[in-house]
Structure formats: structure tokens, C-alpha cells
């Protein structure tokens, strides 16, 4: 069972960072996962007083504060206008409204969990994380970093015309995914680019990209071949929710459907 000897509601990020340098400190997000651990925490640091619960927009970026809840993501009209239903689709299956009113974006990303829908979704977009000490780095880099004592301040998505699709397969509707896939396409540096992430393999989400020029009249066979190629790039594992073989098959199906859906939208 989790024990905590000291609770501090940080008044500044600096204070939070200083406190977090002790090995026995923990920054709390929504407390969804930390509570299930057996950690002996000396100081728990609450960031909820630092105004990190906003989704801000500039002409270039969306900046999502680390303490934004998943429910805020789900209900954000601007994200929906920009990326369609994909963002909502990525979080709406997560347990229930109460849970999503509490679980934070920062917690989801910082945890780098294998089952994370949020990570799978953001990794496919042009996403960066803002760290208090480490500055702004790509999410794809952050994902593979070992957890350290830095503080995740916000998630930054660089805008740009993108099409975004998110899909997953679950055993029950509110369970962890058996597999989760995001597909993003758009023109990057003048070239049509495709980004694919597959999460819950059950390993954490990973990203691959292609400079593919695909037209709306692409044949089913061709799309299937693309999907097979992408799905084949990831490794898969077996656990209670599914076998490696089945997961790879699902990834292939979901990727194919997402590509098809994006191309059909162009028609």
C-alpha cells in the first residue's frame, strides 16, 4: 500500500522541482496509478495550484497543461475541430467519466505505460513535452527516456494540417486496449507524410513514419499491403488480453481501416 509522509501543494514550479529532487518524492497526477503502488513516498508534490490545468492555443501550437484531465481533452472543442473525433476516441473508453475527471494528461504521459491510449494518440501527432529542467523535447524522445527527477509541465502539439485517426480493440468497452493504433497524415516540409503508432502491444506505444503519396483511389490490396508492412515493423507480446500473433493481426486491420478512412475523406 502506498504511504505518504508529507503532502505539499507547490506554490511554484521551482519549489516543486526542488522538492522532487529527493529520491523519495513523487509528483502526483490524478493518483490513479500511484495509489496502486506500494511506494513509500516521503513527499508528495501536488501541482494543482500552478495553473497547469489549461489547454492553451496559439497560431502555432496547442499547449496542454500537465494537470489537464483526460475529460478536458475529450471535451475540448478546438482539438476536435483540428483533429476530428480522434482525440475523443482515444480517451472515451478509459474507465468512466469520474476517472477521466481525475486522471491527468501529465500523469498519463509521464507514466509511459504500455496500455496508454493517451501516449499512443499524442505520439502520432507532432508532439513535444515541456520539462521544467530539460526544456522542450520531442515526445518520441521522451518516451524512451528513463523516468528521472524532472517535472513534466505541458504537452505541446505543433499545429499543421493533419488528419488523425484513432482506433483500438478492447475486451470490454472500458478495459485497457488489446491493441491501440493512431494514424496521422499531413504535408510535412512539402512532402506527404504518414505517422503510425501502435500501443498496448502490450509494450508501450512506438512510432514509425513513411513518406508515402497515397491517393483516394488506392486499391484495397495496396492499402492492405501498406498496413501489413507497418504492423510488421513493431514487436508484439502475449498477456491475459491477447497473444502476440493476434495483436499483430489487429494492428494490421486497424491500420488498414484508418488509412482507408483518411483516404476516403479526401474523395
Amino acid at each position: 500500500m502506498l504511504t505518504i509522509s508529507n503532502y505539499v501543494k507547490a506554490k511554484t514550479l521551482e519549489e516543486a522541482y526542488e522538492l522532487n529532487q529527493a529520491r523519495s518524492s513523487r509528483v502526483m497526477g490524478g493518483m490513479m496509478w500511484m495509489r496502486l503502488s506500494n511506494a513509500k513516498v516521503k513527499t508528495v508534490i501536488d501541482l494543482s495550484g500552478l495553473g497547469l490545468d489549461q489547454i492553451e492555443e496559439t497560431d502555432k501550437v496547442f499547449k496542454i497543461g500537465a494537470m489537464c484531465t483526460l475529460r478536458q481533452l475529450e471535451q475540448c472543442e478546438r482539438l476536435r475541430e483540428e483533429y476530428g473525433d480522434g482525440i475523443r476516441e482515444a480517451v472515451r473508453h478509459i474507465v468512466g467519466v469520474q476517472f477521466r475527471n481525475q486522471a491527468t494528461v501529465g500523469g498519463s504521459i509521464y507514466g509511459r505505460f504500455g496500455f496508454s491510449d493517451v501516449l499512443t494518440a499524442f505520439l502520432a501527432l507532432d508532439t513535444f513535452v515541456e520539462l521544467y529542467d530539460g526544456g522542450i523535447i520531442r515526445l518520441s524522445e521522451f518516451v524512451n527516456r528513463k523516468p528521472d527527477r524532472d517535472i513534466l509541465v505541458s504537452i505541446i502539439i505543433r499545429k499543421g494540417k493533419r488528419k488523425f485517426r484513432y482506433s483500438s480493440v478492447r475486451r470490454t468497452k472500458t478495459d485497457f486496449p488489446v491493441i491501440a493504433c493512431a494514424v496521422v497524415t499531413g504535408i510535412v516540409h512539402g512532402e506527404e507524410s504518414w505517422y503510425f503508432t501502435v500501443g498496448a502491444r502490450p509494450m508501450k506505444a512506438a512510432l514509425t513514419e513513411r513518406k508515402w503519396k497515397l491517393g483516394p483511389d488506392e486499391s484495397e490490396e495496396a492499402i492492405a499491403a501498406y498496413a501489413k508492412e507497418i504492423a510488421g515493423e513493431f514487436d508484439y507480446g502475449t498477456n491475459m488480453r491477447g497473444s502476440a500473433q493476434y495483436r499483430q493481426h489487429l494492428a494490421e486491420v486497424l491500420l488498414r481501416r484508418s488509412i482507408r478512412s483518411i483516404l476516403t475523406e479526401d474523395k
Binding site: Y7, M28, G30, R35, V97, Q98, N101, Q102, T174
Partner: protein, 172 residues
């Protein structure tokens, strides 16, 4: 540590450990409606409102609600009883153990949807939307159908009452 917050419209101060969980603190304060069904944030039985939003009190640190407003079923007893009558008509409270958390989330949903309707002028609730809103409230007795019937009847009556009020205003 001392924690001050507003519980069911009343200021309270409690002495709680830094790792005390809100659910236990609330039960100790006499809010026995707050139940624990799973300990892993999956069942929804411990649902309370913090600043008006449904939350899972089993995974909220009591320390974190300092200065906030917490509402349990005891704080909305009248509304609970009103909706509860519709639930009881269907026999859909059954063992009743999940009822408090469920009713808290139903009332939060009704509030949220009605506010949205007031803003948009529409008033049609999709059943799928209702089911999705309440998906985090597990119930093992009822199979959920009776709960849905109760919600639909409750909404129909609220709309009827609202329309009735409008009619009266028109007549007046």
C-alpha cells in the same frame, strides 16, 4: 495535518494523515453513503463531487481537497430521493450498494446535459451518450436496463415539468 474544506455546504476541518484517502475521511465524517467496491478506480461506487464534478473519492488524497467543495449523496438527499423513486419503481436499486455512487453520477450528468441544452437549445439525449457517461458505474445486480428506464422516466418527468412551467408562463 488539518484540512479544511466544504462538505455538503458546510465548512469542515479534519485532522488527517497526508496519505488519507478522501473516501475514508468522508465515511469517518458520517457520510456512509460513500462506498468502496474495488480499490482500483474501476467501479464508481465511491463517486462524489469535487467542485461539482464527479470524482472517485477512493483515489483522491484528502489533503488535496483543502479549500474545495465536496458533495456526497447526503448533501443532495432531496434530489437523490426524487430520482430514487424512479429507480425504485423499476426495482433497479436492488441491493442498493452501488446506488449512491450511481445516483451521484446520474445527477452530475443531468446537470451537465441540462446546462449544455440550455446553451445550445437542443434537448435530445442520445441513449448511447447516457450509457457512456455512466459506464464507470458498475452494477452487478440489475443488468443496467432498469437503471436506464429509470433515467428515461426521470428525464421525461423533468422535461414535462419544465414544459409545464413554460406553458404556465405562456398562459400567465
Amino acid at each position: 495535518m488539518e484540512i479544511r474544506f466544504i462538505l455538503n455546504q458546510k465548512q469542515v476541518a479534519v485532522d488527517a494523515a497526508p496519505d488519507a484517502v478522501l473516501m475514508n475521511v468522508l465515511r469517518d465524517l458520517g457520510c456512509k453513503s460513500v462506498k468502496c467496491g474495488c480499490e482500483t478506480t474501476n467501479c464508481g461506487l465511491c463517486t462524489v463531487w469535487i467542485d461539482g464534478k464527479s470524482r472517485l473519492s477512493c483515489s483522491v488524497l484528502a489533503a488535496g481537497v483543502a479549500g474545495r467543495e465536496v458533495t456526497t449523496l447526503e448533501g443532495v438527499e432531496e434530489e437523490a430521493a426524487e430520482f430514487g423513486r424512479f429507480l425504485a419503481e423499476e426495482g433497479a436499486e436492488q441491493c442498493g450498494f452501488c446506488s449512491p455512487g450511481f445516483i451521484m453520477n446520474v445527477l452530475a450528468m443531468v446537470k451537465e446535459f441540462e446546462e449544455r441544452d440550455a446553451a445550445s437549445g437542443s434537448g435530445v439525449w442520445d441513449i448511447e451518450e447516457i450509457k457512456e457517461y455512466l459506464a464507470g458505474n458498475l452494477c452487478r445486480c440489475t443488468g443496467y436496463m432498469g437503471q436506464l428506464r429509470a433515467i428515461q422516466n426521470y428525464m421525461a418527468e423533468r422535461r414535462g415539468a419544465a414544459e409545464g412551467r413554460e406553458m404556465k408562463e405562456v398562459q400567465a
